[in-house]
């Protein structure tokens, strides 16, 4: 941990500026070493897109089209809205853990202006970047809380219809946001029949992925998995209610919401990737707990569960 700290200091001294070379056509708009990470905002002038990135150029924390900033650019942000089809009512209270560029809450706010949206983000500089470069604005119904995600969930007196889990540090989920104990706390803050949508960035089948599936299944009665077509993102939809949703019912609900809300994303198409988690449950995979959660090491270990 001193080691981590020294490493950070070392990186800071060696690379006070750009974390990596820019591609031709890319323009650096902003960079900062915040308390938690290296943040850069980069324009791709050829594709007319803007990204928020940490050190690694192949992982963008967020992306936005400069010609259509209101749209959801990254596949997983579109996919996560399939969670709406699992809720039997209009969402009134929604929580996002992890702000990023604020694309998802901003989109949510646009289509559900009446919903109360809480966002918890640990890094104040991420919020500034989202506000200054990605058209994110706080409103009376959409508030950002600068806090650790787990602390906010544990302390909030509110209950939510939907909770979106999308907290990443570089390309890892902080370990204390992956465990059974945390998911129980999340479930405890859901209203009846509430829905959790989690973004899981992982290669298909490694120990981390396997563990996430069994950990979610340990806490929630039903888990549905949507696999990205163009990305390595999975959206986990976990529901607190007893009822299992069939593929047909989800498709139908997605069509209904699409017609009603006139989304510019294709919700029925996203919903057609419906998979119930059974195919992903390997009983020998380890459930992650506060005591045992080697998330960042598990990512590099091949799955041995069958």
């Amino acid at each position: 941990m001193i080691y981590k700290f020294l490493l950070a200091l070392f990186c800071f001294v060696l690379f006070p500026f750009q974390g990596y070379a820019l591609e031709p056509g890319e323009k650096l708009l902003y960079e900062k070493n915040s308390l938690y990470q290296y943040i850069s905002v980069i324009d791709d002038t050829a594709r007319k897109e803007r990204y928020l990135r940490n050190q690694k150029r192949d992982y963008s924390q967020g992306g936005m089209s400069l010609t259509a900033p209101g749209k959801l650019l990254l596949e997983y942000t579109q996919m996560s809205f399939v969670s709406l089809a699992y809720l039997d009512r209009e969402p009134k209270d929604v929580l996002f853990v992890g702000l990023g560029i604020g694309a998802m809450p901003r989109y949510f706010h646009r289509y559900y202006p009446e919903a109360h949206i809480d966002i918890v983000e640990i890094d104040a500089d991420i919020m500034s970047a989202a506000k200054n470069y990605f058209y994110f604005k706080e409103t009376a119904n959409m508030k950002v809380h600068i806090n650790d995600g787990r602390m906010f969930v544990k302390r909030t007196p509110k209950r939510y219809d939907m909770i979106f889990l999308d907290a990443y540090q570089n390309d890892d989920i902080p370990f204390h946001l992956t465990t059974v104990e945390f998911l129980r706390e999340v479930k405890g803050k859901l209203k009846e029949d509430g829905v959790v949508a989690a973004n899981i960035l992982s290669s298909y089948r490694n120990k981390f992925f396997d563990s996430m599936v069994v950990t979610y299944k340990k806490v929630f009665p039903h888990l549905y998995i949507f696999a990205g077509q163009q990305s390595r993102n999975f959206i986990f939809i976990a529901t607190a209610g007893k009822m299992k949703r069939s593929e047909e019912s989800i498709l139908e609900k997605a069509r209904k919401i699409q017609t009603g809300k006139k989304f510019d994303i294709d919700l029925p198409k996203i919903a057609s990737a419906y998979e119930y988690s059974t195919e992903y449950e390997w009983s020998s995979a380890k459930v992650l707990t506060d005591d045992f959660a080697p998330v960042n090491l598990y990512k590099y270990q091949k799955s041995d569960a069958r």
């Binding site: 941990m1 700290f5 650790d148 602390m151 370990f175 090491l297 598990y298 270990q301």
Partner: protein, 199 residues
């Protein structure tokens, strides 16, 4: 030889415990900079107090037996860690003293005492070896190097490997066991020296 081994082990245990400490705090206090800051400063406070105390104690008839007794304290604290960890952390969480004070208080209660005792080891063993074996500068240099080398190994092995094979509580208990076992030979060594008593 045993003394050198113990210095190495204590160096390793300090850093390993510090890394595991971040995992102990995260569920109740998060992983904000305040948590990291509390953790690091409490360990450093413990070590510096330990160095000071260790130096004072080393001037009063140091012996291998006394060293063994002092190692039993963190040994037993680690071995029983799961018994008091959760109740204390939960209690402080419920008290809610704020984002800075809560993790600082939790770190102080959970980590300060063992790090004081682990800090005592360095100056104490140095004096013990110098006055009983009549060696000097070389001894101190070797002990410092071994202690820090132990810390490096403790850091690397814990963060790269141990975290994948066992839970945090089990690892801390194992450290307690290692401390107790490696302190046992000290009771049979009869290494000591008399210091002049001040009148």
């Amino acid at each position: 030889m045993i003394i050198r081994f113990i210095v190495f082990i204590c160096g390793a245990v300090v850093m390993s415990f510090e890394i595991l400490g971040s995992r102990v705090l995260a569920p109740n206090f998060g992983s904000s900079v305040f948590v990291w800051g509390s953790l690091i400063s409490v360990f450093l406070a413990g070590l510096s107090a330990g160095y000071y105390l260790g130096g004072r104690l080393a001037d009063i008839n140091p012996s291998s037996r006394k060293l063994g007794l002092m190692l039993m304290v963190p040994g037993i604290l680690f071995l029983t860690f799961p018994l008091y960890n959760a109740p204390i952390a939960d209690w402080i969480f419920v008290k809610d003293l704020g984002v800075r004070s809560s993790p600082l208080l939790a770190s102080a209660i959970l980590f300060l005492t063992p790090s004081v005792f682990l800090g005592i080891v360095s100056p104490y063993t140095a004096k013990l070896m110098i006055c009983s074996l009549r060696t000097s500068g070389k001894t101190i240099g070797t002990l410092y190097a071994l202690s820090t080398f132990g810390s490096i190994m403790g850091t690397l092995v814990t963060s790269f490997y141990l975290i994948t094979i066992a839970g945090v509580n089990a690892l801390i208990m194992a450290q307690g066991l290692i401390l107790i076992l490696s302190a046992l030979p000290l009771f049979f060594m009869n290494l000591y020296c008399k210091t002049e008593t001040r009148s």
